[in-house]
């Protein structure tokens, strides 16, 4: 079980969090301007790397805040945690 450092509440057990998949996937400015292919990319397609991955978590049983993390999907080590809206920090894994 991972210990996830909520940017607000500090480290808490994974069971308190909800996973939100890839971070930094913006809702399209104007969906109606997109082709079906482009829209499908937004709806269904996400990065799925083996290695560092910028992803979203919500501290759902705590402060209910969404935040971002860079986590190595091979080791599950959290390399960085940052607040929603902040740019992805440089990480070394």
């Amino acid at each position: 079980m991972q210990l996830i450092p909520c940017p607000w509440c500090g480290p808490r057990e994974e069971a308190e969090f909800h996973y939100g998949g890839q971070a930094h996937v913006a809702y399209p400015e104007d969906p109606s301007a997109l082709t079906d292919e482009e829209w499908a990319q937004y709806v269904f397609f996400r990065e799925n790397p083996s290695g560092p991955f910028a992803e979203r978590w919500s501290h759902s049983a705590g402060c209910r805040r969404w935040f971002n993390a860079v986590r190595d999907t091979r080791t599950h080590d959290l390399l960085a945690v940052y607040r929603a809206g902040e740019p992805m920090p440089e990480v070394t894994s």
């Binding site: 079980m1 210990l3 104007d30 937004y42």
Partner: protein, 938 residues
């Protein structure tokens, strides 16, 4: 005959414990394990092997034992325990196993629990290294947890009679434990096995709290506890296991690891037999031989595989009349069951015990689970921790170090380093003990097996896997240890290969002609030792398995005989049967009463979310398919929400409380999901929007009051409220008092009838419900449950999310194009409506179905076909029945269904396979009752 020494060991000879094994009564003493008590009684044959049915004895003294599997029968049946880890208690009934245990059919009466613990330094293992590590860390002020699987601290010291600092080692151990116990912030746990090491310093440990008490175990105390430990730093002082050497017929009872025999002697005062042969590849077995000889065991011979015997130890043996033969190996054994003779080359020696030592395997399971890399130590013939980790360090014989003084020093270094890494400065230095030990074992020879009858040379005694099996696997082309493990099943049994895994790897490397250093060891998977399912379930059983959520009015439902339906975690009244009523008769009565007079239900479980802020309307416009920003204050609108894929995810009403404030309702099951959905969009996509959401689901009790007489009932309890149709229009709300309590009353209807939804602070829910019951008594007010609610809405063609929808249904499919805004430039899901698949004309659409025979009730979930005769499978299906009920209002049965091109098929006859026939049904509009909507105004 007894093999118990008159003195010595950690047992209480003054107390007799009676126990039964394989149907025979024996006695033992407090401090015994089942294994030591059996050996004291001369019993070596425990069970039989799983595949070949060969007798199996006791090989080791601890949890690494590969053979002594027993079934506990009393006090309560428990399968597959090792006799070496079962502490003896009075009245124990057990039997040896043939590889399979038995589960008790009766419920386990014991309690189990879990506890969270946090520490700076966790030390696993209370042997010399662990004790020094724990005390070093404790003296620095760190919070320390020290765990050990035994019932007392000491580790390897428990199995020897050595002196530390010129006094019995137990005294040294006792002093350290005493100091630990009195140091604040230190927790010492015996009978506690760390069984898994996970991410970020998470260690799980199982504590056996009352097992050793047997029948005397107090009922209120959890029998076993799972400790969930979060630690900053860990010291693994997990020790080492002696390993055997494989030779022909090495599986007989009476063949035991030398150090284990020594442990039985010193810890339990038990002799393994009368006459023993010792077979070793290293020094440590000499000490066992000498100690046993001094206790009266006839040591017939020490066969040392090394070309030269160690001079000092050989001299000591000679002084005791023990013959030592260097360069000799055991080549076979005899015996009908227990060993009766051993062959060493051409020499045959009669004996009842064969003690074996093939060297030591550091216990690296947890280190490996912590993702520490292992390194093959050629001198030791074993894998050892191969790197330093930031938060995990090994100490003592777990590193391969076998000298006691050196182990203690490692413990001090590890304890100090761990405390420092956790942010603590050193306290008083723990003095290292000085040992007089005669035995060090680094000078061993690595011998995996003695060539001989391969098919009787057992590598894994529990799985009956032999050298021949290993060679057959390599001969079959297998190269990977994982493959060979699976081909031979070595290491997959109860002991998970604690003593066999390394040997198997060695034999494979020899067979393949590769270096062991190049072989990857097979993975050490948790748990280190087996853990009962019940311990892992802990207290999350029965009523605590998952929370039962109830409303403020719940006690009334219970008192009035409601049957309940599980909706998510909620218990909702399903229907309220009167004596003699079944579901259908009760629901017909509830429906009729509601449509003809007045009924009410507990709607408190509906999700309720307060949405506030300048952009609240804009926000809701994005979430709902229809327009919410144009809703006027005081009015209510029904809305549908879709996912980005355009499929319906929820529906409910939205009431506009103020210019910048809305209250939205969600379905019962989706309340939390929809609030999360809103927060996700607000926080991650639209933080610029001035909107805040708050759940008020449980703040309000919600009571739909439904039926033509609902206005009369409401008027009676809400004297301040003008309930006339003109003053209180459909889809509006008013704040007022109901039964003297501030209330918000919404005029909405999920039944087509005149109806009001009364919302009061939940504390008043029960009282207001009772007031409504009283006020409605003269109209025969009838409480109804979810089933009647479902029937009433189905008669009106209103879908239930999750029943009419299944994540493949759009608002258009539900016939709700009217609820999909054409004006809004965007809302969530809108873009998906333009996809190819969404524009097919043969999508499944919601329609009504009327069985041609009005008495036939279609089962929900029935499929629908086009023809009155079934072709051979696969049969083309047009859709399925989502809801089906007998209807009091319609005087017949009816159904709702999702049907391909359903809207175009209205009027057609389709067929529903039901049992052995095809039931003809007429497709209709989904609204079957009061199509004109005349009834909603009362």
């Amino acid at each position: 005959m007894t093999f118990r020494k008159p003195t010595g060991g950690e047992i209480d000879r003054h107390t007799l414990l009676r126990f039964t094994f394989n149907g025979v009564e024996y006695t033992g003493h407090p401090g015994d394990t089942l294994a030591s008590a059996l050996l004291a009684n001369g019993v070596h044959e425990i069970g039989s092997s799983v595949k070949l049915g060969r007798p199996r004895g006791i090989v080791a003294a601890g949890s690494e034992d590969p053979t002594s599997l027993v079934q506990i029968e009393a006090p309560f049946p428990e399968p597959m325990l090792l006799a070496t880890t079962v502490e003896l208690y009075d009245g124990l009934v057990a039997r040896g196993l043939a590889g399979q245990g038995r589960l008790a059919p009766e419920p386990d009466p014991a309690r189990y629990d879990a506890k969270h613990e946090h520490c700076d330094v966790l030390v696993v293992g209370a042997g010399p290294a662990g004790l020094v590590a724990a005390l070093t860390a404790a003296r620095s002020g760190a919070r320390v947890v020290l765990l050990d699987e035994q019932n007392q601290a000491g580790g390897a010291l428990l199995g020897v009679d050595e002196y530390l600092d010129d006094r019995p080692s137990a005294e040294w151990v006792g002093d350290i434990v005493a100091e630990l116990r009195t140091t604040p912030g230190v927790l010492v746990l015996e009978r506690t096995t760390a069984f898994g090491m996970y991410q970020d310093g998470f260690v799980l440990a199982l504590q056996k709290r009352t097992d050793h008490l047997g029948f005397a175990a107090p009922a209120g105390v959890a029998r076993q506890r799972v400790w969930r430990i979060r630690t900053k730093q860990t010291v693994l002082a997990t020790g080492a296991h002696e390993r055997p050497v494989v030779f022909a017929d090495n599986d007989r009872p009476g063949i035991m690891l030398a150090s284990s025999a020594r442990t039985f002697l010193h810890r339990y005062g038990v002799l393994p037999g009368s006459r023993a042969v010792v077979f070793t590849t290293n020094d440590s077995a000499y000490c066992a031989a000498i100690d046993l000889a001094e206790s009266g065991v006839d040591i017939a011979l020490i066969a040392d595989a090394r070309p030269d015997a160690p001079a000092r130890l050989a001299t000591e043996c000679a002084a005791r009349g023990i013959e030592v033969r260097a360069g000799q190996v055991v080549t076979g054994t005899e015996g009908p069951g227990r060993v009766t003779a051993v062959s060493i080359g051409d020499t045959r020696i009669e004996c009842d015990t064969l003690l074996v030592s093939g060297g030591w395997n550091p216990v690296v399971s947890l280190f490996s689970q912590a993702r520490g890399k292992l390194r093959y130590d050629t001198e030791l013939g074993a894998f050892v921790p191969g790197e330093e980790l930031d938060t995990v360090r090994a100490a003592g014989s777990a590193t391969g170090e076998l000298d006691l003084n050196a182990c203690a020093r490692q413990g001090r270094e590890a304890g100090s380093a761990a405390a420092a890494a956790a942010g603590f400065t050193p306290g008083g230095q723990v003095p290292l003990p000085v040992s007089d030990s005669r035995c060090t074992s680094r000078s061993g020879l690595v011998v995996w097996r003695v060539p001989g009858a391969d098919d009787a040379s057992f590598v894994d005694l529990q799985r009956d896997s032999t050298v021949a099996d290993v060679l057959r696997a390599t001969g079959a082309g297998l190269r990977s240890l994982e493959h060979i493990k699976r081909y031979t099943t070595i290491g997959t049994a109860h002991d998970q290969g604690k003593t066999s895994g390394m040997i198997a790897a060695g034999i494979v490397a020899e067979a393949l002609g590769v270096e062991l250093a190049e072989q990857r060891p097979t993975t050490f998977r948790p748990p280190y030792t087996s853990v009962s399912f019940a311990a892992l379930a802990g207290r999350d059983r029965g009523e605590l398995h998952d929370p039962v959520r109830v409303t403020a009015i719940h006690p009334w439902h219970v008192a009035n005989g409601a049957l309940f339906e599980d909706v998510g975690q909620w218990k909702r009244p399903w229907y309220y049967p009167k004596p003699g009523e079944d579901l259908h008769t009760a629901v017909l009565r509830e429906c009729r009463a509601t449509r003809e007079s007045v009924g009410m239900m507990d709607g408190s479980t509906l999700g309720k979310i307060d949405v506030q802020g300048r952009d609240a309307g804009r926000f809701l416009d994005m979430l709902y398919t229809n327009m919410m920003s144009t809703l006027k204050v005081g009015r209510i609108r029904y809305g549908v929400m879709c996912g980005v894929d355009g499929m319906v995810i929820d529906d409910g009403t939205v009431i506009r409380v103020g210019e910048e404030r809305y209250l939205v309702t969600t379905t019962t099951g989706n309340a939390a999901k929809i609030l999360d959905w809103m927060e996700e969009w607000l926080q991650t996509e639209w933080p610029h929007l001035d909107v805040h959401c708050a759940s008020v689901t449980e703040h309000w009790a919600t009571i739909p009051l439904v039926g033509p007489r609902s206005r009369d009932v409401l008027a009676a309890v809400a004297p301040d409220l003008d309930v006339s149709n003109e003053a209180f229009e459909f889809m509006t709300w008013h704040d007022t008092h109901v039964a003297g309590v501030p209330a918000r009353v919404c005029r909405i209807s999920f039944s087509g009838e005149l109806a009001y939804e009364i919302n009061v602070t939940a504390w008043y829910g029960l009282a207001v419900w009772e007031a409504l019951m009283a006020a409605g008594e003269k109209y025969g007010i009838t409480p109804y449950g979810t089933e009647t609610m479902h029937v009433l809405r189905a008669e009106k063609g209103y879908p239930i999310i999750g029943q009419e929808t299944d994540a493949t249904v759009t608002p258009q499919d539900l016939g709700m194009s009217w609820a999909v805004s054409k004006k809004k430039p965007d809302f969530i899901g809108k873009r998906s409506f333009a996809r190819v698949e969404n524009n097919r004309t043969d999508r499944k659409q919601l329609v009504g179905l009327l069985p041609v025979d009005p008495t036939v009730l279609l089962p929900e979930g029935s499929q629908i076909v086009e023809t009155d005769r079934l072709p051979e499978p696969p049969v083309r299906m047009l859709g399925h029945v989502t809801s089906s009920y007998p209807s009091a209002a319609l005087g017949r049965t009816f159904a709702l269904a999702l049907v391909r091109s359903g809207h175009e098929r209205i009027g057609e006859t389709l067929y529903v396979p039901y049992e052995d026939s095809l039931v003809p049904v007429t497709v209709t509009d989904s609204v079957l009752y009061d199509k004109e909507g005349a009834r909603r105004d009362g």
